[in-house]
């Protein structure tokens, strides 16, 4: 360690300036588009908002007290949780299995990888419209194929799961690509050694692959939980507002949209989104804590 610790060499100074310079665009974007709005939203949640952002009246915690008594909010939170419980694990497990298969040498590998990734490129609204017609109970392809009449998206008991299936389908390819990238870091020799010792494929997957790419799995799990809790467009596009299953499928963001934009009650909408923020913070904090138990960094 040098004695003149406080002073920087010109090389260090350069590093410092250029470092900040390079992250500046992202930093500015984050501050303007994410961080400032977060505080504005929290601020707004204490107001009965007037029309078009004018004439806000401070009402203290009344949006929050109303929210805690609103059964629809808790139902929406429960819907969101149900969606996440289905979407996150399935999208991770399926993507992991696909990634392992598509990491082997096989004919048409690139084509398969591209096909699985394609839903990610399509517009969510278009995906939702196509699935809405697939699920249609009268004219839908799915009911036509299985020869039964199931109300996939209007039966309150199953609609949220039907929507989660669309979510899984859209996100699997993206998760798969992340896992493929992670798999490149796993040395081949481990598998060779394991094969010589007579370990089966599944055993290798669970004992070698999963631990070694656990940092990637962790990353995907954290981002997917956040993403799943923010589900909106699928529900908005698939569920008509007269749909009897709507109350059992609407997510917190859906309610936020409804109150903020169709009912022009931005204060209450903001309170809902603050609740969502807190829920996501708690879940992510828990995941960060739990990672010590299962994520292996080299």
């Amino acid at each position: 360690m040098r004695k003149d610790y406080g002073k920087k060499t010109s090389w260090e100074k350069n590093q410092f300036i250029w470092g900040w310079f390079f992250i500046l665009p992202t930093l500015l974007g984050l501050i303007i588009l994410n961080i400032i709005p977060i505080f504005q939203t929290i601020y707004q949640s204490f107001f009965k908002t007037g029309d078009f952002g004018k004439g806000n009246i401070f009402v203290g915690f009344s949006n929050y007290t109303r929210m805690f008594q609103d059964k629809a909010i808790w139902q929406a939170l429960w819907n969101t949780v149900k969606y996440a419980i289905v979407e996150v694990p399935f999208s991770i497990v399926i993507a992991l299995i696909l990634a392992v298969f598509l990491n082997r040498k096989m004919a048409g590998r690139a084509i398969y990888r591209t096909i699985f990734f394609l839903p990610m490129v399509a517009a969510p609204a278009a995906i939702a419209m196509v699935w809405r017609w697939l699920y249609n109970s009268e004219f839908g392809l799915i009911n036509h194929l299985i020869g039964r009449k199931i109300n996939w998206i209007s039966n309150p008991d199953i609609a949220i799961f039907a929507i989660a299936v669309i979510g899984i389908w859209s996100i699997v390819g993206y998760n798969m690509v992340l896992f493929l990238a992670g798999l490149q870091e796993v040395p081949r020799d481990y598998y060779e050694a394991a094969s010589i010792d007579g370990a089966s494929g599944i055993f290798q997957l669970l004992k070698i692959t999963v631990p070694l790419i656990s940092p990637t799995i962790f990353f995907v799990a954290v981002t997917r939980v956040i993403g799943a809790f923010q589900v909106f467009d699928l529900i908005f596009m698939v569920m008509d507002k007269t749909n009897p299953a709507l109350i059992k499928t609407q997510s917190l963001v859906y309610l936020f949209y409804r109150y903020s934009f169709t009912e022009a009650n931005k204060g209450y909408g903001s309170a809902i989104i603050v609740l969502l923020l807190v829920v996501i913070l708690i879940l992510t904090g828990f995941q960060l804590f739990a990672q010590k138990k299962w994520v292996h960094y080299n």
């Binding site: 591209t114 109970s137 009912e263 022009a264």
Partner: protein, 430 residues
């Protein structure tokens, strides 16, 4: 390593593809947002109905011929329209000229977002507000000032499938029908195997379904002062119980089927024999081969006391108060409200016009249907679509609560009383 190389190339190409994908949607969004900013050299005109675009474009072309400043029309779907308008209103970038709806007009007028047209109308020799249906003029009036020029008028009528009527030998709907005749016909037109229903109620749109029945039965939805709900009125409940009866007896498809498809789609695909639909659907039914060939339209049935009410509404043409070129915007509004343009709107079959006496032309704009049914509804007792300052709040609540009654979780009477209670509470907050 070779594998690594291939993977990285693949990843890179996938990312590029996805970024192009994102880029496209971003660009589209940007176009829409930029389109909303008036540039001064052209006027942006925002509407929400795709069916009307070709006709509106033709009318604007006429104006463009005379004017140095050109008007460009943009269609944004109903839901996004109000989200974008709300954002534009808060951010100060509204389109120059746009459609206004009775659900929203009070909020926009009171906040000074719409160009005050009062003096301009007084000085104009083309616009005289007495030429339009009075209730529609009033929709866009606030504090004695006028904020929009009436664009059109709509009525609800009974659309029916002639082929299905012929099949079971039921007489086509006529002006003597009461809702009980309607019920009897629906009963005969319903097939037991679930392949055909007599009637499909449009649960998502009150104006073209149960509102008419409520008023025919002598009930009401909101009082004149906009302070009290009429859903707990015994007459209202009686009308809603009529709807309940049709649902329970299976003469209407279950709510699941309606919400997944929409009453209009079921009608267009030959699943139901009758729907009550607004005149704004004419273009859609005309362009659908099936309805074009098999269907026609008649006046709505009467209530038990012989009362026939037409719940009607009309859009307004409004301009932004903060537009870059409000003079040109006014000149466009003046043209759009003129007898010439209103007549053209009717002739082109866009919609019936708000200018009294121009709609006879509209009847002749489509050969395949006898649109007299829609026009005759103008001679029925006209009731403007119930509204208040924040209509969406109680309308959406009613749609949500009625679901319980449609599916049978609660009786219609319970649902109506619950709605009245909740609606009174939200009206008190307005």
């Amino acid at each position: 390593m070779k594998v690594k190389k291939i993977v990285s190339i693949l990843l890179a190409s996938i990312l590029t593809v996805s970024m192009i994908g994102c880029g496209d949607t971003k660009k589209q969004q940007q176009d829409t947002i930029e389109g909303f900013n008036s540039k001064g050299d052209k006027l942006t005109v925002a509407i929400w109905d795709n069916n009307q675009q070709p006709g509106i474009q033709k009318i604007l072309d006429e104006w463009n011929k005379e004017s140095e400043i050109k008007a460009e029309v943009q269609v944004i779907t109903w839901n996004e329209y109000w989200t974008l308008l709300e954002a534009g209103a808060s951010g100060g970038a509204l389109p120059d000229v746009f459609w206004m709806h009775s659900n929203q007009s009070q909020r926009y007028s009171e906040n000074g977002l719409l160009l005050d047209l009062t003096d301009k109308i007084n000085q104009s020799d083309k616009i005289d507000l007495n030429n339009y249906y009075n209730d529609i003029v009033k929709l866009y009036e606030s504090d004695g000032k006028q904020f929009a020029i009436p664009k059109d008028i709509d009525t609800i009528a009974l659309w029916y499938n002639k082929t299905m009527f012929d099949e079971v030998g039921v007489e086509y709907p006529n002006e003597n029908w009461t809702w009980d005749d309607f019920y009897e016909a629906a009963k005969k037109l319903t097939k037991d195997d679930g392949s055909q229903w007599g009637y499909a109620i449009n649960t998502g749109n009150n104006q073209d379904s149960y509102y008419n029945m409520i008023y025919d039965y002598g009930g009401y939805v909101i009082n004149d002062d906009k302070t009290k709900s009429g859903y707990d009125d015994p007459k209202t409940i009686q009308a809603m119980e009529f709807v309940e009866k049709m649902l329970r007896e299976g003469l209407c498809p279950e709510l699941e089927v309606i919400s997944e498809n929409g009453a209009d789609v079921l009608f267009q695909s030959g699943k139901v024999a009758m729907v009550t639909q607004g005149s704004w659907m004419v273009a859609g039914f005309r362009d659908n081969e099936y309805t074009n060939k098999n269907c026609d339209v008649a006046v709505l049935p009467k209530g038990p006391d012989g009362k026939r009410v037409s719940i009607y509404n009309g859009l307004g043409w409004a301009a932004s108060a903060n537009g870059k070129n409000t003079e040109a915007a006014w000149s466009l509004l003046e043209y759009l409200g003129s007898k010439e343009a209103q007549l053209k709107q009717a002739q082109l079959g866009v919609t019936m016009s708000a200018y009294i006496g121009t709609s006879d032309e509209w009847v002749n704009s489509v050969d395949s249907f006898n649109l007299q049914g829609h026009l005759d509804m103008l001679d029925a007792e006209l009731v403007i679509r119930p509204y208040s300052r924040n209509t969406n709040v109680w309308e959406d609540m009613a749609i949500e609560t009625f679901k319980g009654a449609w599916t049978g979780e609660m009786t219609m009477e319970e649902a109506c009383k619950k709605i009245a209670e909740s609606m009174n509470a939200s009206l008190a907050e307005e």
